[in-house]
């Protein structure tokens, strides 16, 4: 480039984009460190990856426990098949790759080799939902829909570093296959301010409010808490119900909160509007005869754009600022 002319710097895409906003507290590689800690107590734990150890924080485990780490190469079907084999022989594999490659590429292997036999394989997948601007090859907008549909699969969408740290030992206690979305690298830390404790299968009310109930999972809970603070300036009182376990769904808590009446129910999810938390909640409300007004904040049924992550979060309405405006619109 001509270095004499100062041009405005274009916003750029990157495969690994930080989801932490500026000034946000973060914790480094919570998954990797939690797994090392778990492995110290549980000799059956092994780590496996498909050429993405460094990008799923599994390298922390690989360095700490090299004899319990299996590099399977960039071969996701092999990864899932071999994980099933190891589980058959008594190991508890923690398997990592990107969400797209596990759910789209190796679906049949997870379905037949792992889930159908109820094997004890924990699949931790980075870049869930829209957490990279790299384009549709790496954007996992459908992962929850696919994994919810798989019989016997437990599905978790954690919000922050604290939750990931607590999730790792919790899924080890659970006997059976688990799909968990993974936030890697410098992961935001927010739930410590809410006295939060992850419990598999439990939704948690983080904040109560009269006007609107935001039901959310994953990074959208972080956003929902920020939105609630923004709305409070306009005297709008928002409740936030965090649903970390997408399957099995904590129907009792969701129905109790949504059935309190008089509140708009909004489901916010970092996932396609099809087949994720929104549709899961809507189905439960309908089955229970709860007719609260209902709205969904979700990604469109489309191949998403490549671009800078903040741009895309704005474009698709899941940034704090756009989400705040959307809610204000709905609440009149």
């Amino acid at each position: 480039m001509n270095t004499n002319v100062q041009k405005p710097k274009l916003k750029t895409s990157a495969m690994i984009a930080s989801i932490a906003s500026e000034g946000q507290r973060t914790q480094s590689a919570p998954f990797g460190h939690a797994l090392v800690e778990l492995a110290a107590r549980r000799p059956e734990v092994v780590g496996m990856t498909a050429d993405l150890a460094k990008y799923t924080d599994l390298h922390i485990f690989a360095q700490a426990c090299p004899e319990r780490f299996y590099q399977m190469g960039m071969a996701e079907q092999l990864l899932m098949g071999a994980a099933a084999g190891l589980a058959h022989e008594g190991a508890m594999p923690f398997v990592t790759t990107y969400a797209v490659f596990a759910t789209r590429r190796a679906y049949d292997f997870m379905h037949q080799a792992i889930a159908e036999e109820g094997l004890n394989v924990k699949i931790a997948c980075a870049l869930p939902g829209l957490t990279t601007g790299y384009g549709p090859s790496h954007q996992a907008a459908e992962d929850l829909a696919l994994m919810r549909a798989m019989p016997g699969m437990t599905v978790i969408d954690p919000c922050d570093a604290l939750e990931i740290e607590q999730m790792v030992p919790a899924v080890a206690e659970h006997d059976g296959p688990v799909y968990m979305r993974l936030l890697r690298g410098q992961v935001p830390l927010v739930l410590d301010e809410y006295d939060y404790k992850f419990e598999l299968g439990k939704a948690k009310l983080l904040r109560d409010g009269r006007d609107v109930l935001i039901i959310s999972s994953g990074i959208m809970t972080m956003r929902a808490l920020e939105v609630a603070r923004e709305l409070a300036r306009d005297k709008i009182d928002a409740a936030v119900l965090h649903v970390a376990t997408i399957k099995p769904l904590d129907t009792a808590t969701i129905l109790r909160e949504a059935g309190r009446g008089g509140r708009l129910v909004v489901v916010a999810e970092n996932h396609s509007a099809i087949g994720g938390l929104g549709e899961a909640v809507a189905t439960e409300l309908l089955r229970a005869g709860i007719s609260s007004p209902f709205r969904q904040i979700a990604l469109p049924d489309a191949f998403l754009d490549a671009g800078a992550l903040p741009t895309l979060h704005d474009r698709y309405g899941i940034s704090t600022s756009v989400m705040t405006e959307t809610l204000k619109g709905w609440l009149g």
Partner: protein, 281 residues
């Protein structure tokens, strides 16, 4: 070497230089990118677009063109550099590389870019698509070749071996596959992530007409492409190109972790200067 080949060689060397330069300029826009790969594959792309392939710069969809399928979508920066040089993408767009609403996203996608024949990014798919395109071209009695470039890391994927086997089964003599062996993938050296040698024996056993060359020796690249095109057997053709990450910019070549290079701001000029020095040497 006769005079006409000498001239052609000099032109291709210039083309390879311009491809490397374009790639560095795009990398500079973003401050990062798969620069190591772009520099290693520039000689192959120069020969593909400057000698081997038929295409019309103003008509990326021209029916009689040879197809080039970039399986390793993260090499897009290299292919954009070649497409810009070939006149298929306007030079001005170089500055938009990887930016919001650009036609040149970081990972190659067919729906975004003229001249991009497939959407890559999810690795190990190119050869399977190439098999279908070759079958389709044969149905139309087309004389076009399908070229596909993939990387040694993609050999980890089972789908690649499905493609290799079926190409020979269908006697796809209109298929020329190039595997870039730079021995570098996301988690480390390809051979350590998943051992893949001996590659020539494997490809030959799978029924391919196979050549292995130094992919940064321009004469060898020219000879291999010429031989692949003129080979008269019914086998699909394979060029195994051993390349050096960062080739043409010694200090990038020497960098150990060069799968995804972050280059400091001042280093881009140094890289361009180093590239120029090599060109004039």
């Amino acid at each position: 070497m006769d005079t006409s080949l000498k001239e052609a060689r000099a032109e291709l060397a210039e083309r390879a230089y311009r491809i490397r330069r374009n790639a560095l300029l795009m990398g500079e826009v973003q401050g990062q990118g798969y620069i190591g790969q772009a520099l290693d594959i520039a000689d192959v792309l120069a020969v593909a677009y400057g000698r081997a392939m038929s295409f019309k710069p103003g008509d990326a969809e021209w029916e009689e063109r040879d197809r080039f399928l970039l399986s390793n979508g993260h090499y897009a920066i290299a292919l954009y550099a070649a497409l810009i040089d070939a006149g298929i993408i306007p030079q001005e767009e170089l500055e938009t590389y990887g930016s919001d609403d650009s036609r040149l996203p970081m990972s190659g996608m067919a729906s975004y870019t003229p001249g991009m024949e497939m959407s890559g990014g999810s690795l190990g798919q190119g050869l399977t698509i190439a098999v279908g395109r070759c079958l389709g071209l044969k149905r139309k009695a087309s004389k076009s070749f399908v070229y596909t470039l993939f990387s040694d890391g993609e050999l980890d994927e089972g789908a690649v071996w499905e493609g290799l086997m079926s190409a020979a089964h269908w006697k796809l003599d209109n298929l020329i596959a190039i595997v870039d062996v730079n021995n570098q993938q996301a988690d480390g050296p390809s051979g350590q992530v998943m051992a893949f040698e001996p590659l020539v024996d494997k490809m030959e056993a799978f029924g391919w007409f196979t050549q292995r060359i130094d992919g940064n020796d321009l004469d060898a690249v020219i000879a291999a492409f010429d031989a692949a095109r003129s080979y008269t057997g019914t086998k699909p053709r394979m060029i195994i190109a051993d390349t050096r990450m960062g080739c043409g910019v010694p200090f990038l070549e020497a960098r150990e972790k060069n799968h995804f290079i972050r280059v400091d701001e001042h280093e881009w000029q140094l890289a361009l200067t180093a590239l120029d020095a090599g060109r004039n040497a």
